[in-house]
Amino acid sequence: MNLGPQPNPVRQTSVIFLATLAVFITQTFRFTSHWSGWVVLLETALTLLAIFALSRIFQRWQVKPSESMRPQLFCHLTMILFPIAVQVITRSLGVGDPNELVLLNMVQNVAFALAAIPSSRKSLQISALLNGFLVLFVTAMTDNSLIWAASVIFAAFGLWWLMCSYWERLETKFASATNRTIPLRPVLIALATLTVLGAITIASVGVPGTVMVLAGFMPTSGGDKYPDPNARSGVGEGDMMIAAKDSAFSFGPVDSEILLESKMPSLYDVASDQYGEAKIKKQINKELSQAISLTADRLRHNHKKTASSEQAARQFNTLRRLSKQRRTSPNERKSTALFHIAGNSPLHLITRRFDSFDGIEWTHSGLPSAPVSTSLASVDGKPWLKINRKSGDVLRGKQTHTLRIINLKSKQIPSPAHLTGIHIADVDRESFYATGNDGVFELAAQEFIPQLTVIHLVSQVHSERALTQLGDFRGLYPKTTQSKRRTAISGERLHSRATSWTEHLSPGWGQVLAINEKLRSQFKHDPMATAPDDCLNLVDHFLATGSGPDYMFASTATELLRSLGYEAQVVMGFYADSDDYDPQAMQTSIDTENLHFWTEVHVGQNIWVPIEPTPGFQAPKSWLTWQERISLAWLASLNWIADHWGLISLSLVGAVIVFRLRHVLFDVSSLVFWRIGWFGSTRRRIIWTVQILEVRARIAGKERPPSITLAKWYRALAGSEQRLKGNREPLDQLLALADRAFYGPQSIECSLSSNIQADVYSACSKLLRTWTSRRMKRAICDFPIKQADRRIIQQ
C-alpha cells in the first residue's frame, strides 16, 4: 500500500496548531457545562501528555510507517478508547459526561493523534478535517464568546492552511506515477453494504422511519425514553414534561404544573403572581376585603368565581403578601408568555388606570374619562379603528406595534399611550371596540381577547420640548371630575415635600420631571419590599423607608404631583423590556413578570403623558428633534465614558504603547507568523521573506520606490545604518536567493542541494531578525525619490 509522501514537518506543526485550537475549544465547551472543571483539565492534560510521549517515542526510535501501519493505528485506537475508559471510571463513581461529549472527546483525541503521530500525509489532512468538524459542531452548540473567538481564529488559520496547501500543490511537480493510496476494494464493499442496508430499511419502514433510525446513530443525552442523570439540559423530554419555553403554549397536561381548568391568567392572577396576594385589610370596609383576597389553593378551586368577578381587577391593593422569589431570568421562568409584542422597546402598555387612592388601595372612580372620537377607516384594504385626538404640538410622530395574544385573559387591549389606530384582521365593525371608564380600549362583546389574536397598534409619542413649552398646565382637567378624586394623604406634609423638590422651578413640565427624577435617583427599587399589615398610608411608608416595588413609586409620584396641583393617575400595565427582546423572533415576550406600574400626568387636551418614576425602568419614548438626538447621544457618550473611564484610560494607554512600539510589535509578530504560519516550497519562503522585508521598510518609512531594484535599495539602506551595515551577509544571501526565486528559470529546489535548502530557512530567519523596521527607520536612504517615482507611486 502506497502511503503517499511523508508529511512535511512544517505542515505537521501547522496541523498540530489547528488540533490544539480544536482541543481548547472542545474542552472549554466541556468545562463550562461540566460538573467538575478539574476532571476536565486532568483528562485533557493526560491525553495530550500521552500523545506527545508516544510521538516522541516514534521519533526517537525512528519508527517508519510499515505496510500495515500497526504502531500508528495502535496509538490512534488507544486515544479513541481513552475517553471511554475515563467514563467507565467516573460513572462507576456516580458521575459522568453526556454521551455526545464523550463522542466529541474521542474525535478530538484521534484528530490530535493523527496530527502528532501521522502515518502519512493523508493523516494530516484527515486530522484537519476532523478538527474542522469538531470546531463547527461545538460552535453550533454554544454561545460562549470565548469559544466563538477561538473558532474565528481557527477559521482564519484553517483557511490560510488550505490556501497554502493549494499553492504547495501547484508548485510541486506532478507525480511521475499515479499510485492509488486509498484501497479501493474495502471502500467499494463498504459503500455497497451501506446501499443494501439502506434499501432494506427503506423497504421495511419507509423513508420517515429510515430517517428516524438514522437519528439513532448519533448518541444523545436527555431521557428520550429513560432518564439520564448525566444529561445536559433540554434535549428530549426526559422524566418530566415541562412546558416548552419557546412554543406559545403546550397542549395537554403538563407534569410541572397543577392541572388548571384554564391556563389563561387574568390580570388579577398576573398581579397576584407578580406582587403576591393582596393582604386582607384588618380595618373596616370588610365588604371590600371579602371581595378581594383569595389564597392560592382557593384561587385554583374557585377559578370560575375569580374569573367572573371582574370587579377584582379594577382595583389594586398596595398591601401585598409576597410568597416567592420574583424576577427570574427568562430561561428560568416556567410560565408561558401572556403575549408577544413586535416593535420598538422598551414600551409601556396600559391595561388599567386608577385615579382614586385611599392610602392603601387604588381604584377607579368610575367616572368616565373624556370621550375620544373614533371612526373606521380602510388603510391598504384593511379595516382600522382610527382614534381621533387633538394632539397639537405635544404628540408627534408615529410608532407601530403588533400584539400576539397568547395567554392573557383580559378584554382590555394592552396598548401604548396616545393610541391612534387599532387593527384586528377582519374586524370591520366599530362597535367591536369599546373604551372602559379609564379610557383603555377593549373588545366590546368579548369576555377576553381570544387566544392567538393579532392586534396591530399605531400610536404617537410626546415631545419633551413641546411639553416644556406648555407652561403651567395645571387646572386644565375638567373640574367636575377633580372633585371626585380622593386623596388620603395629608396634603400639607406631602405638599411641602413636593415643593422642596421643585423649588426654583416654574410650574409646568419641569416640576413633573423634577419629582420624577428625585424618585428615580433618591429611592431604591426593591421588588420584594412590602408595606406592613397595619400600614395606613403607603406613601408615607415609602417616603420613610426609601425603597419599595414599582407600585409604591407610582403611587408616591402620583400623590406628590397631585399635591402640587397636577392631575395624575396610576397606570397598571406591562413593561416590554428591551433586554427581553428576541432578535431571532423579532419580538418581545411579555409574561407575568412584566407587569408594571407607572404614573400618567394630564397636560391638557385630554392628553395623559406617562412618566416612569421607578429606577431601572426606562422612561417612555419621547419624540426628539435631531438636535436633541445628537445632544442625547453626546450626553450618553459622555456618561458612558465617565462610567468606563478606567477601561478607556487603560485602552488609551495601551493604544499609545502599541503605537510607540508598533515597529517592534510588527517585527516580532511578522517573525512569529513567518515561522509558524508558513509552509510550502523554499521558493515561496524566500518570496514571503522578501515581502515581509518590504512591509517592514514601508512601516519604517523607507518604502522602496517601484523603479528601484531590491539590491540597490536595501544595499543603500545598509550603507547608512551601523547595525544594518554589520549585517550585510544575510542581506546579500537573501538578495541572491530572491533573484533566483523571482527571476530564476526553474524551481529553486531543483538547483539547491538538500543541505542548502535547510540553510535557506536559517538565512531568511537571520535576515528577519536583524533587518527590523526600527533599524531601517534609522537608515538614511541615498536614493532621492524622483518625480517619476512619485508618479508611479501615486498611480
Binding site: S707, K712, Y743, Q746, I756
Partner: protein, 326 residues
Amino acid sequence: MTREQNTDTVITPACEHQQAIDRLRSRLNTSLLGKEDVVEMVLVCLLSRGHILFDDLPGLGKTTLAKAVALAVGGKFARVQCTPDLLPSDITGFNIFNQKTRAFEFMHGPVFSDVLLADEINRTTPRTQSALFEAMAERQVTIDNTRHKLSDSFFVVATQNPVEMHGAYPLPEAQLDRFAMKLRIGYPNRSDEMKMLATNIGEHDALTADDEPILDPSQLRQLQQHVAEVDVCEPVREYLVDLAAATRAHPDISLGLSPRGLIIWQRVAQAFAHLKGRDFVTPDDVQEVALPVLDVRMGGDLESSRRNVSEIIDSVTVPLLSTNNP
C-alpha cells in the same frame, strides 16, 4: 570591477570558461589601468557579439584596449584609420587580377580580422561607413556578387573624437543602432597614471610581455553561445519592453529604441548576468547596461544621456514576482 561574490547558499551554473574570463579580465585591466568598468563593458560586448563605439578623446587607450582584446582571444587584429579619402574597398577588400594565374584574386580587407579597430570613423565618408556597417550587421561582405563571410567572432571597436567635429561625417542614428554600446574611457586618475608611467619605463611596448591568447576563437564562440542561452524570464522581458516604450515616449529623445536595439539590450544584459555568475537575467542587469546601450542610440552629450536614461529607468516599475511558477 570584480566579479560579484556569490553566496554559499546559491550554487551558480557551472561555467567551464570562468577562469578564462577572469584571466581575460585581468589581462585587459593590465592593459588599461584603472578602468575596470570599461573593461567589464568591453567583455560584455565581446560575449554578446556586439560592437563598441568609443566616443572619446585621443590617447586614452582605445587602440591599446582593442589590441589587447584581439591578442587575448587569439584572433587577428586589424586597424583602419578612417580618413575622408578612405574607400569602401579599403575596408572590405577588393578583387585584383593576378597576372600569373590569370584570375582575379580577392584581397581581404581589414574586416576579415577578428578584432577591427576603426579609428575616427566619423571622418570617413558615409559610403565607406555604410560598407563597414554592412559588415558589422551581417558579418559578411559582398564584393562583385561574391559573398565573403567574416569571422564568427568579428568584433568592431570604432572610435570617434567628440572634440574635432569640423569636416566630420557624424554617424546617423540608423547606423549607430548597429553598435551595442557607446563607451567613454575618460582620463585615468592620478595613481593610475603614475602606475602607467612606471610600467612604461624601459619598455617600448607594454603588451609585448604578455601576449599569449587566453581564448581561441572557437572557445570564444562557445562562450558567446552560452551567453545567448542565459535565461530571460517573462517579467524581465516585459520590463525591457516597457523600458523601450518609455524611450519612445520620452519627450527629449527623438528616436526611441528600435527592436534591434532592444534585442541588443537583452543580449548585453545576458552577457552581464553571465559575467556575474548567474544563468538568468535580473532587472539589475538591465539597469546596469542601460546607459551604454541607450547612449549610442540617443545621441547628445553624456550628461543629457545620463539624465534621460535615469528618467526612463525611474519611470518603469521593476518586476518582482516571476510568473513562471505560480
